[in-house]
């Protein structure tokens, strides 16, 4: 077996999170940095996101995914940060020993001073939905179809129904329409879309594609190839209403029904996962429950905007560089637990260093659990409200950022638990 290779900061994944983390680690003084990427080039999911809308926050420009990625990739090359593509990480230990395989190098092992988890997320598959009916071909997740069209150069079918109105599904409705494919309808279980308004207008309304809210697919038809789906209205409990069935002929069904952080490697390393976000539990430095292992981007929690991924990942990369440089493995520090109260889901970070909370602003990110107008977000410290923010609208499709500032708290009293909840004004 090959010798174990020492690395200061090892970045797992060469998508937007990994690229930004590696650059920030370099800027913070890390010497030996390595990015491991399983695809044959850097860029991650941005490679197949050829639509515009990326970079408005960071570059103040409306870029496509490949252009956004190229800015970071160019900089990674300019900084001389090595990246090894076509490489699959198969194990990470809590002692930060990383095993990977590739055709070029065979089996390799790296001992990392610090690790940045940046593996991204994957799509919820058909199996997670339990739709009854035939096991026909022609059923894909929306991102798979996006890859077929935008990277592999194939069209998935001629007549398409999309289940779920997540942004990838909406974007694909327009892409397929541009390619001459008929998109019959976008079917959404909830009474609202989780996609951006902009995408509903510019990907569906522009092409008169119906968005059927409070509907779902209740049967799949077709031996061999898909021939159609049955859709039904659902009631307030999201149960199909008998008698509301309608048959939609189609040869392709795309699923755009949510994303799941990809954490099998994290679990192997003994990293604690959060059941709500599906990602690691982290502190305000984005360090997981295993010292020296950090997480950022969609492997931590699913983001709406890549700009936010880049910003978060830069912080993870910087912190990883500091840990790697000092060779100190941070001891368990006194931490404030962060809890999601009523109407709030998936808060990140889940722990805040007590000292930091008392001296510097800390950014919390979370999603509201339902659509609310004229809502108030309430921050509570050990059950006592310390801060209130009014919001005209909260929707699960848009992540909320809340800055927790030292002046929220009475100086004398140390905080043990922070809670954010949502109430109607």
């Amino acid at each position: 077996m090959n010798a174990i290779i020492p690395i200061d900061v090892l970045v797992i994944g060469g998508g937007p999170a990994g690229l930004a983390a590696a650059l920030a680690a370099k800027a913070a003084g890390a010497d030996e940095i390595l990015i491991l990427e399983r695809e044959n080039e850097l860029g991650g999911i941005l490679r197949q996101c050829i639509h515009t809308g990326f970079g408005l926050h960071i570059f103040k420009e409306e870029l496509t995914g490949p252009e956004y990625a190229a800015r970071y990739i160019t900089e990674v090359h300019a900084q001389g940060i090595p990246a090894q593509c076509d490489t699959m990480v198969i194990d990470i230990t809590s002692e930060r020993l990383v095993t990977c395989v590739s055709a070029a190098h065979g089996l390799q092992r790296f001992q990392a001073g610090a690790i940045v988890l940046a593996m991204g997320c994957r799509e919820r598959p058909r199996g997670a939905l339990g739709i009854p009916g035939a096991r026909s071909s022609g059923i894909y997740s929306a991102g798979t179809a996006q890859r077929f069209v935008n990277l592999d150069g194939y069209l998935p079918g001629r007549r398409v129904v999309i289940l779920g109105s997540g942004d990838i599904g909406l974007i694909m409705a327009r892409r397929l329409t541009f390619a001459g494919i008929k998109v019959e309808a976008v079917v959404e279980l909830m009474p609202y879309s989780s996609g951006l308004k902009r995408n509903i207008v510019q990907c569906l309304d522009d092409f008169d594609i119906p968005l059927l809210l409070s509907h779902t697919v209740t049967a799949i038809h077709g031996k061999g190839r898909l021939t159609g789906v049955t859709i039904s209205k659902v009631d307030a409990d999201l149960s199909p209403i008998p008698g509301s069935e309608r048959y939609l002929p189609c040869d392709t069904l795309l699923l755009s029904v949510g994303l799941i952080p990809e954490n099998e490697l994290s679990r192997n390393a003994g990293v604690d996962l959060d059941a709500t976000t599906g990602g690691p539990v982290v502190d305000n430095r984005l360090q997981t429950s295993v010292p020296g292992i950090f997480a950022c981007g969609n492997v931590l929690h699913v983001h709406d905007l890549v700009d936010h991924v880049s910003i978060e990942a830069a912080e993870a990369g910087r912190q990883a560089a500091l840990v790697a440089a000092s060779r100190r493995q941070a001891a368990v520090e006194s931490a404030v637990a962060v809890r999601a109260g009523d109407g709030v889901r998936g808060i990140v970070p889940q722990r805040i260093n007590s000292e930091t909370l008392a001296t510097a602003p800390v950014k919390l990110m979370f999603r509201p659990s339902s659509v609310r107008r004229n809502a108030v977000l309430v921050v509570e410290a050990d059950g006592v409200p310390v801060h209130r923010v009014k919001k005209r609208i909260l929707t699960p499709g848009e992540m909320v950022e809340l800055s927790i500032k030292p002046n929220f708290f009475a100086a004398a009293k140390p905080v043990r638990e922070l809670c954010v909840r949502c109430e109607n004004s």
Binding site: R47, I50, H51, T52, E62, T64, P66, E67, A70, V149, N150, L151, D152, G153, F178, L196, K197, R198, I200, V201, Q202, D205, D206, R373, R392, I393, T395, G397, E398
Partner: protein, 138 residues
């Protein structure tokens, strides 16, 4: 689009009688509220907007109903190569030129190597806007 030959609108701050007003319903995309706007148009100009919760709705309606624009992104297959070349318009183009733009892109036969930002079509569909490559294909 719904033509309403006789429209009388009465609002506390606004009173208008016209014989040529048409109405359109659009969704404002300025923020997640997504207000449903009812836009009254006369001679192609916006004369009234209702349903907006803030002034951005009015400017959005003016843009969207008078000269709507869209960024267009598309793919050009390169024989024998994957991935296909991804391209975009350098700026938004008038919405009614999207089809012409897609047809022009479909007819384009760029030669490799191509670098990100290279001009593929200098002026697409008479819109005065270039189509540029969004990735390297060497």
């Amino acid at each position: 689009m719904q033509a309403a030959p006789w429209v009388i609108l009465f609002k506390s701050n606004f009173f208008l009688i016209t014989m040529t007003t048409t109405k359109r319903e659009i969704t404002c995309i300025s923020c997640p509220l997504g207000c449903s706007l009812e836009v009254s148009l006369a001679d192609g100009q916006v004369v009234a907007v209702t349903g907006n919760e803030c002034p951005r709705g009015v400017s959005y309606a003016r843009q969207e109903c008078v000269h709507p624009e869209r960024m267009v992104t598309a793919l050009i297959p390169i024989p024998g190569r994957t991935p296909p070349l991804s391209v975009r318009t350098e700026r938004p183009i008038p919405k009614d030129k999207i089809t012409d733009c897609l047809c022009a892109i479909a007819d384009a036969r760029p030669t490799l190597p191509i670098r990100i930002g290279d001009v593929i079509i200098p002026d697409v569909a008479g819109a005065g806007v270039a189509v540029i490559a969004t990735r390297d294909l060497l």
